[in-house]
């Protein structure tokens, strides 16, 4: 081990690409996660990830060549629909569960028709090593877009999450901002799901922010630690998975979980 193994790591084009992808995806997830945790939308984002299957299935049914497009469109519709219904019913978690299981079942049924599901099973775990330069550019685009969205809309989102009526009283377009957030979430989840995988994408969204929440006292610390934790688990996870020859996504999640439990223990000790 040492410098040579590090150069060995970077001599492969796919490792360099994966490294770049991690540098873009993880901060993005760290950022987005802060608000998902704050708004208690962990279940929502989970359901959103699962809807990817249905989106692809619909693409297959309608014979669309690029199923990415149907996947993204379906996720956006799904997110907006959930938001719309969520504003009207009290048992929101039940509704999410109903929608989520419904869409997963539909997706699985269609994709497994004719015994072809193995073609799509890579979607469940994801494979960051298969990312190409062009796809990294897409990610960079959504990263820039999210940063701008965050800078302009974070205060509004935050205000609406603390007290809706109070936010409305201050002429904040609460509904619009919440829908916009759902759309941004759908976009990011769908654009990264191929690399991260349906099964663990939610862990990457939630864990860094949840860990950061354990030790932060204000919004600056919350964002800072969430970004650092996310980036740290991403980079370390990529290296470890390379040397230990295990899948990258789960390795990243394991490191993020360790971070979560450490911060939890730290906060617990401090408060006792």
């Amino acid at each position: 081990m040492g410098l040579e193994s590090l150069t060995a790591f970077f001599q492969y084009e796919f490792m360099r690409n994966a490294f770049l992808a991690v540098l873009i995806i993880t901060p993005l997830f760290g950022l987005l996660g802060t608000m998902i945790v704050q708004k208690k939308m962990a279940f929502f984002s989970d359901a959103l990830g699962h809807s990817a299957l249905t989106g692809i299935a619909l693409g297959v049914v309608f014979g669309v060549r690029d199923t990415n497009i149907t996947m993204i469109v379906f996720a956006i519709v799904f997110a907006l629909l959930l938001n719309y219904i969520g504003n009207r019913v009290a048992a929101f978690d039940t509704i999410i569960s109903v929608f989520s299981s419904c869409s997963v079942a539909l997706g699985l049924a269609i994709l497994s028709a004719g015994g072809n599901f193995s073609k799509y099973s890579s979607l469940l775990v994801g494979d960051i090593l298969s990312i190409t330069r062009g796809e990294i550019l897409y990610l960079l685009g959504i990263f820039a877009f999210t940063l701008i969205f965050w800078c302009f809309c974070f205060n509004y989102l935050h205000a609406a999450s603390i007290h809706r009526t109070l936010a409305k009283g201050r002429h904040i377009p609460v509904k619009m901002i919440e829908n916009l957030f759902a759309v941004v979430m759908a976009l990011i989840v769908m654009l990264s799901i191929k690399w991260v995988g349906i099964l663990i994408i939610n862990a990457l969204l939630i864990l860094p922010a949840a860990a950061s929440r354990n030790i932060s006292e204000n919004m600056r610390e919350y964002h800072f630690f969430s970004l650092i934790f996310s980036l740290f688990s991403g980079i370390l996870g990529l290296f470890i998975s390379y040397y230990a020859n295990v899948a990258t996504g789960p390795t990243i999640v394991i490191i993020a979980s360790v971070l979560y439990f450490s911060t939890y223990a730290y906060a617990y000790k401090r408060n006792v």
Binding site: T34, Q38, W150, C151, F152, F154, N155, Y156, H158, A159, S161, I162, H163, R164, T165, L166, A167, K168, G169, R170, I172, S212, R213, N214, S216, E217, N218, M219, R220, E221, Y222, H223, A267
Partner: protein
């Protein structure tokens, strides 16, 4: 935030024919109110009388009929009404990484709170907090504030952009006598030193008698309004609050009521 101004006594706020319907159900109907500037107006009524709905309608949070006018009394010029609102509680859980600065800056400023703490914004917020003597709480986590502290922070937030009308709920039951007294003193201070009117939902008729300028008895519509003693002696009041046991504002009866374990009217 501008300097504290004395109430000018020249504005008035008129609520005309305000109504709220939920499907077939009528929650509020033809509510007409006249609010003078620099006055403390208290809404009383039983549970389900539509008190909170009235406040939400005035905040434009729910669809409603009728309108709210804000006029100069001298020349009748209509101005834009700025409404401040103090909610009873916030959607903030234990361990939330939200400081008082984050809370207020999110509502009042566009500069993203997660980037950095801006000195000029912190300065302005501190000025507002000072009015309620809570300026040392600027960096405290909101979830760690006591009920009274939170209310003062929320009041500071509500008056930051000089509203003409302040809408609020009395502190929820559980606040002790000292806390209540302090709250009503703060209300008095506000109406005397700022150019604004206050509309307050109350559950404690004794304090209302002592501090209110106008009492509004609500039950789907304004059943009776006027000075506290006028309203308390009216037949409408006795009908709604059940005449004999009341009025609780007669000193001594309060003690009896407390001993019976019934401390609020709700």
């Amino acid at each position: 935030m501008k300097k504290i101004r004395k109430p000018c006594g020249l504005h008035c706020i008129k609520i005309n024919h305000l109504g709220v319907r939920l499907g077939e159900q009528v929650i509020l109907e033809d509510v007409n109110l006249h609010i003078h500037c620099g006055s403390l107006n208290v809404i009383i009524g039983k549970n389900g009388a539509g008190k909170s709905t009235l406040i939400r309608a005035m905040l434009n949070d729910i669809p409603h009929e009728g309108d709210i006018e804000f006029k100069d009394r001298e020349n009748g010029r209509i101005q834009k009404l700025k409404v401040g609102y103090v909610p009873q509680s916030l959607n903030i859980e234990k361990n939330s990484p939200i400081s008082v600065y984050d809370l207020i800056a999110s509502y009042h400023y566009r500069f993203p709170v997660f980037l950095r703490k801006k000195k000029c914004i912190a300065g302005q917020i501190t000025e507002a907090l000072k009015i309620f003597e809570v300026e040392d709480l600027l960096d405290r986590q909101v979830c760690k504030l006591s009920g009274g502290q939170l209310q003062r922070v929320l009041l500071a937030m509500a008056i930051m952009d000089e509203p003409n009308l302040l809408l609020l709920d009395e502190p929820v039951s559980g606040v002790d006598q000292n806390g209540m007294e302090l709250f009503y003193r703060t209300m008095e201070y506000l109406k005397e030193n700022f150019d604004l009117s206050v509309i307050l939902i109350s559950h404690d008729l004794d304090y209302v008698l002592k501090y209110a300028d106008q009492v509004i008895l609500l039950d789907q519509t304004v059943v009776k309004s006027g000075s506290p003693s006028d309203v308390y002696e009216s037949s409408e009041f006795k009908e709604i609050f059940g005449g004999e046991e009341l009025p609780g504002y007669v000193s001594g009866k309060r003690e009896k009521r407390r001993r019976a374990g019934d401390t609020t009217w709700d």
